[in-house]
Amino acid sequence: MGKIVKVGSGQGFYGDTIEPAVYMAEHSDVQYICFDTLAELTLAILQKDRQKDPTKGYPKDITNTMRKLLPFVKEKGIKLITNAGGINPEGAKNEVLRVAKELGITGIKVGVVTGDDIYDRIDEFQENGIDLKSNDSNEDLSRVREKILFASVYLGAQPIAEALNQGADIVITGRTTDTAQFLGPLIYEFGWEEQDWDKLASGILVGHLLECSGQGSGGNFSGDWYNVENLQSIGYPIAEVNEDGSFIVTKTVGSGGRVSIDTIKEQFLYEIHDPSTYITPDVIADFTTTEFEEIGENRVLVKNTTGRPAPPTLKALMGYKNGFLGQGMIGYSWPQALSKARAANEIIRSQIETLGIKVLDIHTEYLGYNALHGPLAQEIDEDLINEIFLKITICTEEREEATKLAKLFPPLTVNGPPYVGMISGLSPSRELLGLWSTLIPRETIESNINIEVFEVI
């Protein structure tokens, strides 16, 4: 049997539990644990953190992650690959070094990849004829230019492979594709060439099946979810990868959840748009050729994924200020819960008008009836409804206007329909964020990527 590289899923988003990764580190023989911590909107949260404190701007849970896992890096040689650098990889690196010191761990190397953050390069790009038009609407950037809060490019796996090549035990990046943390170690371990398109595409699929953590091992499963065992101690997915790119998806023995064709195929097609053309910086992967075979309990063989040459551009995602959100909520009990909530909605809307609150958009939802289904919710016999919560959300230009909505809710307890259960009219307003995705010629970005490796001494 040839060389097998084992990579495991550590976290699927900022705030995900670390316990499955700890269990994996203790009870499996993975060589790499990889973390995808940056959803589209995560950078907005991090940007606010950095505004308050310039040393921050990375997911705060990296501290806990490192406290729990650095001992395994030292003792078992497990390597950690994470994009928890957020918009401050340098700051995240300093935090990792600090935790290592706190734990008395020395002799490990931390690699840092930068070059994804283009916030300070927007003018430079535009001066050089890169128009940064919207991918979605083809609109010119000018409308949102002054409102931009963050801007970064999705980097691929090559810089991660290079950091490993330079001896890093831990690799910290900023914005990367969700899959890069998983493909990076495979490129490094197997020496896959930049034009091994089918192998790279297979590695992308390894990453894609693992990057959402529990969604690849029985979590959020729409089939017979009620039969999936021990979700309270779910094991996050692991891939055992062969040099030719074929791999087995499994999970730590003794953990909960389920790895079957039915559970992983839902993740297989998750958020990828055209399955024949999954565009990444490393390769354009074709998932329509992929074959699955269940070869044992919680073991699925995945093979025959194919790929085509990588694109000449990289995707950038920018976030811009897009007004403020104000909200209020109030609950009504049986009888006529829905009718009462509807009456309260009318009262609030009428008051918004009378008071002249400057609302750009308004949205009403009835929790327990249509909040998750909108216009697709089915009418129900009101006598069967025990309780309904009215939630009104508004969008305004100024924060001050947004906060006015919440103040209208408490008086409803004495002025409105009867049997009020609960109010949370004072939920804080928050800033809304628009997303702007665009394409940038890759050489403009790649010539600026920097990789540094620091040793903990």
């Binding site: 998932f287 329509t288 998750l372 508004i394 809304l432």
Partner: protein, 117 residues
């Protein structure tokens, strides 16, 4: 012929990219995949999501996993961080699609029931 909800015969998961909802629908076997190809068209999905999806709907066929994929544009109230909706990520669009009713001939439906038992 019988009318059934997709919920009773298929799996679905949904996610987001910007203001688009991305929904996968999985058939349990080849026969049903053929039925879904015929019954669950992009046009029907667009109509099903009236009032919540405002852009075009594109469909991709993925026969290796007996799936159909739907990309729904202008579907998430401006995209997760701009949306006023509780389901700002469109995680429930999968469940919403499973509400759709389709026609299935009894023979195919019976084969599924046998499998369930």
């Amino acid at each position: 012929m019988a009318k059934v909800k997709l919920k009773d015969v298929a799996q679905a998961r949904s996610g987001d990219k910007g203001n688009s909802s991305d929904i996968s629908l999985f058939a349990p076997n080849k026969q049903l995949f053929e039925v879904l190809k015929k019954e669950v068209t992009a046009e029907k999905v667009k109509e099903h999501f009236s009032g919540i999806v405002f852009g075009d709907v594109y469909r991709y066929e993925v026969p290796n996993v007996l799936a159909l994929k739907f990309l729904c544009l202008e579907a998430l109230g401006g995209g997760a961080p701009s949306s006023l909706r509780l389901d700002n990520l469109g995680k429930c669009f999968g469940g919403n699609l499973l509400r759709m009713e389709i026609e299935i001939i009894d023979e195919i439906l019976d084969s599924l029931k046998v499998k369930d038992q």
